[in-house]
């Protein structure tokens, strides 16, 4: 039994559903149903153990050092949500099978639905809060797909975008909040967090963390002032609305409040923030629901109001209030799912959701009407139905919470007003739709839906009645265990009787029922009042649209200002920005520029070399318009750089720099052939002056920064590498051992980048046509001579020698300066020389230009070496080595790192050759068609 496999079942089922839909429309529905059943079948065997009071925790370490693990949790609260998600999900699957029309793609719908279901299960069952957040974001994304299911409708796209913007922004805030929470508690695991409530509440960062977490919860569960996305999400197909509003999505927000209740609640900040939002939402939702003429709109605002109710209960903070909150979560899920389905049936069979047109449907669909009326009465809180029980608990909690406060009578009063409006809109749902005269020009003649479409509604309405009439026998055990999950301790005794005698809660219920009836009776003047005065002023959507369009305008203005399509302009901004940041950082840091490290003495030779380099640089800059000259000069600079490496104890670097210098110059020479050889100055004088100032400032900054570093003492982190290079890595060249062993994974990444760059260049060369020049800058014509015989012969003679040197460098690399990188470069230089000296035709026959297999082989060898250590139970890329004794040769050492280095070698050779040879081959191509000479070989 395994919690993760439940979630995997659902996600894998999502793919399966998408796939089977090609075999027929209804296959997708069948598979989706079976998948949901399979997930339920895995969950149910664990239920008895949870009822016995156990908490299942499954844990797989992934990245323990930063608290990122894969872990799942099943306690009462998680189980309640998993059952709601899967149970109501199953009914939705059945219902949607009849709801979707022949035009709608079933596979896509069910695939999205299962994906969403999997994400919701992930939220409910997560033990690690970061993991919870990942599933949280997944629900935002998948609900976006579901809401925009009818992509061709503008309102669907708008509604989906709004939902994504609001819940996505909330998710970002939640990420911050959860990270802070994890840092405060010292762990991201819920079992630790839930037990460190006192420590969390006493922490100085408690308030900012709370605000961020609440932003996440409030946006998701559509609390005021973020409530407006929910009514706009009504553009989704009705099964989606039924699912999102009852058991999922918006319930994720209240789930989070319930989940973190022991860790966060019990402070004045919690009470006022959560309570304020809850009360406002309760009132706003209830009042506005009455004025919505759209059936689904009414239900949407009622959902908002009920979520406010649940939030308010958690804000009150007493254990009994939390029990009532959990109870209302259950009840609301049941009656709201059935109401949405009923609304969907009415829409489906009558062709409209407008209550000004829908009247007197009782005659046409009495069965559906009966179901909808019972569910609606449950929503209003009529006795003998489930909504009554939790609502009365809510009234009692609100009254007792209010009695502790100054002006405390306001709370029960406000709650009663919300109750009055709840009754009023429930009555409207019943009376306006099923009675109140005759239908007004409906597109269809209403009739009862197919038998099976009603079944989910019937089951849910039966539950409303069962829970309402026999609460102790039905819901009590589940409620107890779920409340224990919320509180993380035994819940207080509560009595789910229908009759508690005449008390304040009953009086409030009666006032709400009677008042609701009265409000509904005077609805017509109220509608007029709303349409004339309230509606034009209270447009949350307009505010949202305004903010969004302002944001987009700002973004595009910023882009236009910075990205003018000119690289020069952007680079000046970039360099200037870097300068400002650097100077600002230094000035604010306030430290001295120089440190007190002992300096090395200056010697004349070094001074000489430095002068050559500086003048070389200057000469490159001065002569950059005479490109050939500049290229030769930059070679000088590169050589001096490698001398610097020699001087300051970097033999490996010197070798690398030297060989890279050679291939770079060859590369630039080859490229220069296709570019203008020179050009005249074209930048205006002011721009050159500006660039000069920027360049000099940047140079000064770099010099000062280098000086600041070089003059300070430091403690190296390399002692470990130095100490373990021989005993751990089996090599005495520490730089090479770091590359192939200690940081082998980095090197693997780097050779991958190298191979990708080579392939990218190869791809760019395709279909490139550049005419080569027929004469050089001095006007001398192109030379068609064969390659000089002396040079060709010597190059051929030198090849074995050069290859032997590279083998030597490769083999000794683990212990002395050398290694795969350098040997690869030396080999590449030796082979390139053949192309230069012997021409492409001759060399192509012997050395194919296509080095792709070599690249692939190198990467494969390096990766397989890494994977090989798994076979022996070691982490990826663990190296091992041994000393062997062979007759005549003596003792020698063999390390697996050598095989890795071989991979590096092959990738380097392959990439360099690929780049240079293909660029070189373009030369031939650029001349052959133009000249028409065939005898040049």
């Amino acid at each position: 039994m395994n919690l993760m496999s439940i979630i995997i079942t659902v996600f894998a089922g999502s793919l399966l559903t998408a796939w089977v839909s090609r075999f027929g429309r209804l296959q997708a529905a069948w598979v989706a149903g079976l998948i949901t059943l399979a997930a339920l079948a895995q969950l149910l065997p664990m239920v008895p153990s949870v009822f016995a009071g156990n908490t299942h925790i499954e844990h797989w370490a992934w990245f323990p050092s930063v608290g990122l693990d894969l872990s799942f949790r099943l306690d009462g609260l998680a189980m309640l949500f998993a059952l709601l998600i899967l149970g109501i999900g199953l009914l939705i699957v059945l219902y949607a099978r009849y709801y979707l029309s022949a035009r709608d793609c079933m596979g896509r719908f069910y695939s999205y639905l299962l994906m969403f279901m999997g994400a919701m299960l992930g939220i409910a069952l997560s033990e690690n809060v970061i993991q919870l957040l990942i599933f949280w974001e997944l629900t935002s994304l998948t609900s976006f797909l579901l809401i925009s299911y009818w992509q061709d409708r503008e309102e669907a796209r708008q509604g989906a975008r709004m939902a994504l913007a609001i819940t996505g922004a909330g998710g970002l805030a939640l990420l911050g909040g959860l990270i802070m929470l994890g840092q405060i508690a010292g762990s991201y695991e819920l079992s630790v967090i839930l037990n460190s409530g006192d420590q969390i509440r006493a922490h100085p960062l408690y308030v900012p963390m709370l605000v961020l977490v609440l932003l996440g919860a409030f946006t998701k569960s559509a609390q005021f002032p973020f409530h407006f996305w929910l009514p706009n999400a009504m553009a989704a197909p009705t099964p989606v609305s039924a699912y999102l509003h009852s058991a999922t999505m918006v319930k994720a927000g209240v789930f989070l409040l319930a989940r973190l209740f022991p860790a966060l609640s019990g402070t004045p900040e919690w009470s006022y923030l959560v309570g304020g939002a809850g009360l406002m939402t309760l009132l706003v939702g209830a009042v506005f629901a009455l004025f919505k003429h759209d059936l689904k709109g009414l239900l949407a605002y009622s959902t908002i109001s009920h979520l406010g109710l649940i939030t308010l209960l958690f804000a009150i903070g007493t254990p009994l209030a939390a029990v009532a909150g959990v109870f209302h979560i259950i009840n609301h899920a049941i009656f709201k799912a059935s109401l949405f389905m009923a609304a969907g049936i009415i829409d489906h069979e009558a062709g409209s959701r407008d209550m000004r047109k829908l009247n007197g449907l009782w005659k046409y669909m009495p069965h559906t009407a009966m179901l909808a009326m019972v569910a609606s009465a449950a929503m209003a809180g009529v006795p003998l139905l489930n909504g009554f029980l939790s609502k009365e608990m809510f009234f009692a909690e609100a009254a007792s919470a209010g009695s502790h406060l100054k002006l405390g009578w306001l709370l029960p009063a406000a709650v009663t007003i919300a109750g009055i409006f709840a009754v009023a809109y429930s009555v409207r749902f019943i009376h306006d739709v099923f009675y109140n005269g005759e239908p007004i020009d409906l597109p269809k003649t209403p009739h009862e839906p197919p038998r099976w479409m009603k079944l989910p509604v019937e089951l849910l309405v039966a539950l409303c009645l069962l829970v309402g009439i026999l609460p102790q026998a039905t819901v009590q055990p589940l409620l107890e265990i779920a409340s224990a999950g919320v509180l993380q301790t035994t819940p207080p005794d509560f009595d789910l009787a229908i009759w508690h005698g005449v008390n304040i809660a009953l009086i409030m219920s009666v006032v709400a029922l009677v008042g609701g009836g009265l409000v509904y009776a005077m609805r017509l003047p109220l509608f007029r009042l709303h349409d004339e005065h309230l509606a034009p002023r209270l447009q949350a959507k307009a505010v949202f649209d305004h903010i969004m369009s302002a944001l987009f305008r700002f973004a595009s203005a910023l882009t236009r200002a910075l990205d003018t399509g000119s690289l020069q302009r952007m680079l000046v901004l970039f360099f200037a920005g870097a300068l400002v940041l650097g100077v600002g950082g230094f000035l604010m840091g306030g430290g001295p520029l120089s440190g007190n490290r002992a300096m090395l003495p200056l010697d004349p030779l070094s001074l000489m070399a430095a002068l050559i380099l500086i003048f070389g640089t200057l000469a490159v800059v001065m002569s950059h318009r005479q490109r050939f000259t500049a290229l030769i000069l930059i070679g000088v600079v590169g050589l001096v750089v490698s001398l610097i490496f020699v001087k300051f104890s970097g033999p490996d670097l010197a070798l690398t720099q030297l060989s890279v210098e050679v291939v770079t110059i060859v590369l630039l020479l080859l490229a220069l052939y296709f570019l203008p050889q020179s050009h005249s100055a074209e930048s205006p004088r002011w721009r050159r002056a500006r660039d000069l100032v920027v360049a000099l400032l940047a140079g000064t900054g770099a010099a000062l920064l280098s000086w600041a570093v070089l003059s300070r003492p430091f403690t190296s982190i390399s002692d470990y590498f130095l100490a373990n290079s021989v005993p751990g890595g089996g090599g005495s060249n520490v730089v090479n051992v770091i590359l192939v062993d200690f940081r082998g994974f980095d090197t693997l990444g780097e050779i991958t980048v190298l191979a990708l760059a080579a392939l990218g260049i190869f791809a760019m060369l395709e279909r490139i046509y550049l005419p080569g020049p027929d004469a050089d800058a001095q006007g001398r014509p192109w030379n068609w001579d064969k390659h000089p015989a002396v040079m060709a012969s010597f190059a051929r003679l030198l090849l074995p020698l050069a290859l032997m040197v590279s083998v030597f460098i490769f083999l000794r690399g683990h212990n002395l300066p050398g290694g795969g990188f350098i040997a690869g470069l030396v080999t590449a230089v030796a082979l390139i020389m053949q192309y230069l000296a012997n021409g492409e035709e001759w060399t192509q026959d012997r050395l194919p230009a296509n080095t792709h297999p070599m690249l692939a082989m190198g990467l494969l060898i390096a990766t397989l070496t890494g994977l090989g250590s798994w076979l022996f139970g070691y982490p990826f890329l663990t190296s091992s080595f041994g000393h062997f004794h062979l007759p005549f040769i003596g003792e020698f050492e063999l390390a697996t790192a050598m095989a890795f280095d071989l991979g590096v070698y092959l990738v380097v050779v392959g990439s360099v050759l690929l780049i240079l040879i293909y660029l070189g081959l373009m030369h031939g191509a650029s001349h052959r068609p133009a000249s028409g000479k065939e005898d040049y070989r």
Binding site: A610, I614, I634, A695, A702, L710, S911
Partner: protein, 108 residues
Amino acid sequence: MEILLSVVIGALTAGGVYLALRGRTFAVVLGLTLLSYAVNLFLFAMGRLTIGEPPVIGSSESYTDPLPQALVLTAIVIGFAMTAFVIMLALKARSVLGSDHVDGRDES
């Protein structure tokens, strides 16, 4: 000696930045090459300057910091790949747009 290397890094940076701000692709490639020399030397200098103490076990009494060297070694090779990529981009741009100006069009 430390002052000398600082000046060298500064000079390479200044030259690199100036050339990177030019309008023609070849000059920009030269500038990037100079800049990568400067960056490599700067990274190398993070291990401070020592003479005659290469990080090869057994070759001397104490050793210089090997870590910056390992970083710079791969940076040099990747730097070559980057230079090659940029120059190829320049060739491609010239082939498609008919100009070797960095913005793909000659200034009016």
